[in-house]
Amino acid sequence: MENTSSREAILAKVRRNKPGATAMPDIDFLEKNVNGSLAKLSAMLDTIGGKLFQVNDWTEIVSTIRAQHPGDGTIYSPIPEVQHITGQINQDEFDGHNLANVEVGIVKAHFAVTENGAVWVTDDQLGNRALPFICQHLAAVIGEDDILPTLHEAYTRSAGHQYQYGAFIAGASKTADIEQSLVLGAHGPRSMMVFVLGKGEAL
């Protein structure tokens, strides 16, 4: 299967044709040593199909979700604290297809970014990688101190994370492919809630 001759041919032609090497510019100065603003994060989320909630504990997260999504839709979360409250059965973690009927998925996130409303999640937080995409509505939980101003701080903060898969998720799944009319809920979640958990509760 592996065609080593193509590999060698491409690399040889790159070596023959590439321009002279140039220095790599420094980009570290782009980082601002400040925290992100909660108010700005909240305002940004409002513009991208998201909503921010400040809560004191896990029970409040679940009750807020129940209030936002009345009915008996399945709430699924790989977070033990949430499983305690919802009393759900364990899903087969290796098969995302089993999550197709999840109404609300709740995941922990490492942090949120003020400039674009994105949260950073990694596979160890998701249970199954499909969860934050296949659920009808997504909830992500961060701590009070986990708000960063820009992506530069975000990549520095996550540099040490050992992940197999990670994603920035910013608001609801969306499309404007039909005449540039914005529609929320393209293939993924129709809405996103970001919960900021008070210091009293361990994340």
Binding site: K13, N17, P19, F94, A170, D177, E179, V183
Partner: protein, 459 residues
């Protein structure tokens, strides 16, 4: 590639027959450009980011072999299979072989301009494999048996009523329904079934990181992730120029990409794929297909810095009024016009001329590619190689004779003024493109030379 029957100018003429539609197309894209401006103006460091991105990409081009080897080493260590394809055909064969090895005959695909460039869908269809495009815009053009007319907004040329008709025919929506919300919901249900039943998913790649061996895919819809996470095998196709050296450089590129593309601060999903999930397979195909040739062209290699945001299309006065299909290339607009001649100069000889050279494309480019200068340079290469479009060649020759002889120049000027005065129909007709959609000014009675002579004599 075969030479096209019609060139860009002729196809633009067809596109321009429906004036309301052209105006709508023009205004819609300009609206996207205006959203870009609004987003960009909120970042005081915008120009710094553009400079840095351009410099990082330049560093990549100068050490591309080293980064490719570093990326391969790290990706392999992450448990990802790495394949190399010198051209489109080899890429398509690799995909086909990966599928047949697993007896898979249906695949879901998220947006990948590279697979458009390679003609993958047609190739797989000929080999009995069904491909369903999952990006809404791409699904729409697929149902219409067309190709994307824009790299970010694939069906920007289509009105919602036409999309409603397509959905009525193929997805069973009631006739006459064209509400975007309703049509999107229909596509959501239709494609969810596809995601849940396909064992193979192919995605494009926005950025690949040499330092870590991971690659990043950006979507707003979540279709790349839905496909990749639910399938047994994830194939990611990428041009070799998509590499960036370090993970932290994503901070620069992701800040630039979507602000430039749609005016959003970031796409909804920026997914970092490093290793396959347990029990699954991940493959990366590194594709050359002419990129190493472009790398050797000093005047044109900067085009390889492109991050496919589409900003140059949205701002281009020619693209906005001629539509993506008139370019007859997987990538239309200004950037497509400097990439296409590299692949086949004769087939795409018309494209560098599809520009006013106004420079707006270069001004919005997030990686500072000198697009309009390259368009100008391609014109010279094309004319010198004798590949210029026939009409262009003839007029250039006539101009050459006229401008190199003072006598011929004076005669032509006089003849022009007299013709405009006495036989305007000889020039103001359908054969003269300068008269389309505009009136010419009144011709002056005499040339400057004549005026100067008569005034000097009368002293």
């Amino acid at each position: 590639m075969e030479k096209h029957d019609k060139d860009h100018a002729e196809l633009s003429e067809v596109f321009n027959k429906d004036e309301d539609r052209v105006n709508w197309h023009d205004e819609t894209l300009w609206w996207v450009r205006a959203k870009r401006d609004k987003a960009v103006n909120q970042l005081p460091e915008w120009e710094t980011l553009r400079d840095l991105a351009s410099q990082i990409k330049h560093n990549v081009l100068g050490s591309l072999d080293i980064y490719l080897e570093q990326f391969e080493k790290n990706a392999l260590a992450n448990g990802v299979h790495v394949h190399w394809a010198t051209d489109a055909e080899e890429h398509n064969k690799i995909v086909y072989q990966l599928l047949t090895e697993k007896s898979i005959n249906r695949m879901v695909k998220s947006k990948s301009m590279l697979t458009e460039e390679c003609g993958l869908n047609d190739y797989l269809a000929e080999h009995g494999i069904e491909v369903i495009d999952s990006d809404l815009g791409e699904r729409i053009v697929q149902l219409a048996k067309e190709h994307p007319s824009h790299i970010v907004l694939p069906c920007i040329h289509k009105k919602k009523e036409e999309i409603g008709e397509l959905f009525h025919e193929h997805l069973g929506t009631p006739a006459g329904v064209s509400d975007p919300q309703f049509l999107t919901e229909t596509a959501r249900q239709h494609l969810r079934e596809v995601f849940l039943t396909r064992r193979a998913a192919l995605t494009g790649v926005n950025f690949a990181i040499a330092e870590t061996g991971e690659f990043v895919v950006c979507t707003n819809e979540g279709n790349a992730d839905m496909g990749a996470h639910l399938a047994d095998i994830h194939i990611a196709s990428m041009g070799i120029e998509k590499l960036i050296p370090e993970r932290k450089h994503l901070g620069v590129f992701l800040r630039l990409l979507t602000r430039s593309a749609t005016g959003q601060p970031i796409t909804t999903y920026s997914s970092h794929f490093k290793s396959p999930a347990e029990g699954k397979e991940m493959h990366i195909i590194l594709v050359d297909n002419g990129r190493t040739t472009q790398l050797g062209r000093e005047d044109f290699r900067n085009s390889l810095k492109c991050i496919r945001c589409g900003a140059c299309m949205n701002t281009c006065p020619v693209y906005r009024r001629s539509g993506g299909h008139s370019y007859q290339n997987a990538i239309a607009g200004p950037i497509g016009s400097i990439l296409a001649p590299n692949l086949d100069m004769e087939a795409h000889a018309d494209l560098p001329f599809a520009s006013t050279l106004c420079g707006s494309c270069s001004n919005v480019c997030p990686v500072k590619i000198n697009i309009h200068e390259q368009l100008y340079k391609w014109r010279q290469v094309i004319v010198q190689s004798g590949k210029a479009p026939a009409g262009k060649k003839m007029t250039m020759k006539a101009m050459d004779i006229t401008l190199s002889s003072p006598g011929a120049y004076r005669f032509a000027g006089k003849a022009g003024r007299l013709a405009l005065k006495f036989i305007p129909f000889a020039v103001n007709n359908n054969l003269n493109p300068w008269y389309k959609h505009r009136e010419m000014p009144e011709p002056p009675a005499q040339s400057f030379r004549e005026w100067y002579r008569s005034n000097r004599n009368s002293k």
